[in-house]
């Protein structure tokens, strides 16, 4: 009984002389292999080399500072209320006199924690943020053995003041802006 249209009859045909010595087939195969030596590689050596990520990629969050190095976040709680996984918690504090160079507004986040095991990297926090403080970057969240290590506090989230420690999010910012424009049309 024929089960499928693609079944093939086996033919035990006698091989010709050129087929029997195998050499042409081997050479043909080697030529294919050799050809790949001169082709561009499809892979990269990952940790040393890194590919550019697409702007839709959502990884490790960053809490941005403004041009003067002051934290943008005012602990308004909109990211936490937008978070579907309830991964974000924060505690606010009032800016004291003399801290104007640290925090942009009179209220700031004294504690800001994201549970990276809870986070589903949906990006709703950055969409909810009224102060352009939180962004999801193209950095991959490091792995660990201990659950406690995945609760990222401000030390893991806030970018550095120095220019070389700043995290560039312009690509992501542009992407969000375009997305918002598309939605308003």
């Amino acid at each position: 009984m024929q089960l499928t249209q693609r079944s093939k009859q086996v033919v035990n045909k006698q091989m010709t002389f050129t087929e029997r010595i195998y050499l042409p087939a081997i050479l043909k195969g080697m030529f294919t292999t050799l050809k790949h030596f001169f082709r561009r590689s499809n892979t990269i050596s990952y940790p040393k080399q890194k590919r550019e990520f697409a702007p839709v990629y959502r990884g490790w969050h960053v809490l941005k500072r403004d041009a003067q190095g002051r934290e943008n976040c005012t602990a308004c709680g909109l990211c936490a209320v937008a978070c579907p996984a309830e991964a974000i918690t924060m505690e606010a504090a009032e800016r004291q006199k003399g801290e104007e160079n640290l925090y942009r507004e009179e209220k700031y986040a004294a504690v800001y924690e994201i549970n990276m095991l809870r986070c589903i990297f949906c990006g709703l926090c950055e969409e909810a943020c009224p102060k352009e403080a939180i962004f999801l970057t193209d950095r991959i969240v490091p792995s660990d053995y201990v659950r406690q290590e995945f609760i990222f506090g401000k030390d893991m989230l806030v970018e550095g003041v120095e220019p070389e420690k700043r995290i560039d999010v312009t690509k992501r910012q542009r992407h969000i802006q375009e997305k918002k424009q598309r939605e308003t049309i």
């Binding site: 005012t74 602990a75 308004c76 709680g77 909109l78 936490a80 209320v81 309830e86 606010a92 504090a93 009032e94 507004e105 009179e106 209220k107 009224p130 102060k131």
Partner: protein, 310 residues
């Protein structure tokens, strides 16, 4: 009794009732928003102009429409009166204009403001306001003032509704604050930054429709939508003792008076209840407070009934 039709809904109210209160009797979307009128404060209303409505038929005897939009909190009903609120485009347009004026000098610092989430101006602007402003000048600014140890005054956020002045006049035996200056320079003041020290002074926080007067003991502690509002009462020698405690876990973050569906307080509470009774064992907790499900405060609060659903 007078028969009045508001947006097609008919109701009968006693003579002398205002259009706003007649609309509140019907309830629903047709109730005009009110920023300054407060039913429990005598003399309030007529200042903010957000409750403007169109009277399309004056009364049964004189069916001519009123020539201009009227403030519904000040205009009393007549028998056979017909009123258009949300069905009139003229009203919605005028209200959007009023909101734009209220927001001219408002700093829009909702991410910082403790009132965010329960702010009448926020709701009003969300419903009627434009996305941007057309104002090109600098907004008027004031210094933040501590009025006594419990109340913080952010004059920049004030919309001059005078509610707090009426509270001081009618609830306390001596008023020590008021509004000085006129027009753009008008501000709530205690003259020489005198502290408001009175047992019922804390109620100015509850009646304030914006975040101009906020609780200093709750300042920046949390956002209202992270807290669980619970009805609670206690035996208080000075006030009714009926309040709402805003809890986070087993901790009471703040105490407020109970607001009805119009956002108005009927049982004002004293400062001892509001600022000094923040331990859960001092209160008898009655249960979770009913919060409108469209409010951000109800976000993330799951009722116990949800568990019985299979």
């Amino acid at each position: 009794m007078a028969k009045v039709t508001i947006d097609g809904f008919e109701t009968e109210v006693p003579d002398g009732t205002t259009i706003l209160n007649a609309a509140r009797q019907i309830g629903g979307d047709i109730v005009p928003p009110a920023m300054c009128y407060y039913s429990t404060l005598k003399g309030s209303g007529g200042k903010c102009r957000t409750c403007l409505v169109k009277v399309t038929k004056g009364s049964e005897k004189d069916p001519r429409p009123m020539p201009k939009l009227v403030a519904s909190c000040q205009t009393t009903v007549m028998d056979g009166m017909e009123v258009a609120n949300i069905t009139s485009e003229e009203v919605t347009k005028a209200r959007a204009g009023v909101v734009e004026f209220l927001l001219l000098n408002h700093p829009l610092d909702c991410p910082i403001c403790d009132q965010a989430g329960e702010c009448s101006l926020q709701d009003l602007a969300f419903e009627h306001g434009a996305a941007g402003t057309r104002y090109e000048f600098d907004r008027r600014t004031f210094e933040k003032i501590d009025i006594g140890p419990y109340i913080k005054l952010h004059m920049t956020r004030c919309i001059l509704c005078y509610r707090c002045v009426f509270v001081a006049n009618q609830l306390t035996d001596q008023r020590v604050h008021g509004i000085i200056g006129r027009g753009d320079h008008a501000e709530i003041s205690t003259y020489i930054e005198k502290a408001i020290e009175n047992d019922f002074s804390g109620n100015v926080i509850d009646v304030c429709p914006v975040g101009a007067l906020t609780d200093r003991t709750f300042r920046f502690k949390s956002r209202v939508w992270f807290l669980n509002p619970m009805d609670a009462h206690r035996d208080c020698p000075t006030c009714s003792g009926k309040a709402v405690v805003w809890m986070y876990g087993k901790e009471i973050y703040r105490v407020t008076a109970r607001k009805d569906q119009n956002g108005e307080v009927h049982d004002f509470i004293c400062n001892t209840c509001r600022f000094h009774t923040k331990s859960p064992d001092q209160w008898t907790i009655e249960g979770a407070r009913q919060i409108d499900r469209h409010s951000v405060i109800s976000q993330g609060h799951y009722s116990e009934n949800a568990q019985t659903v299979r």
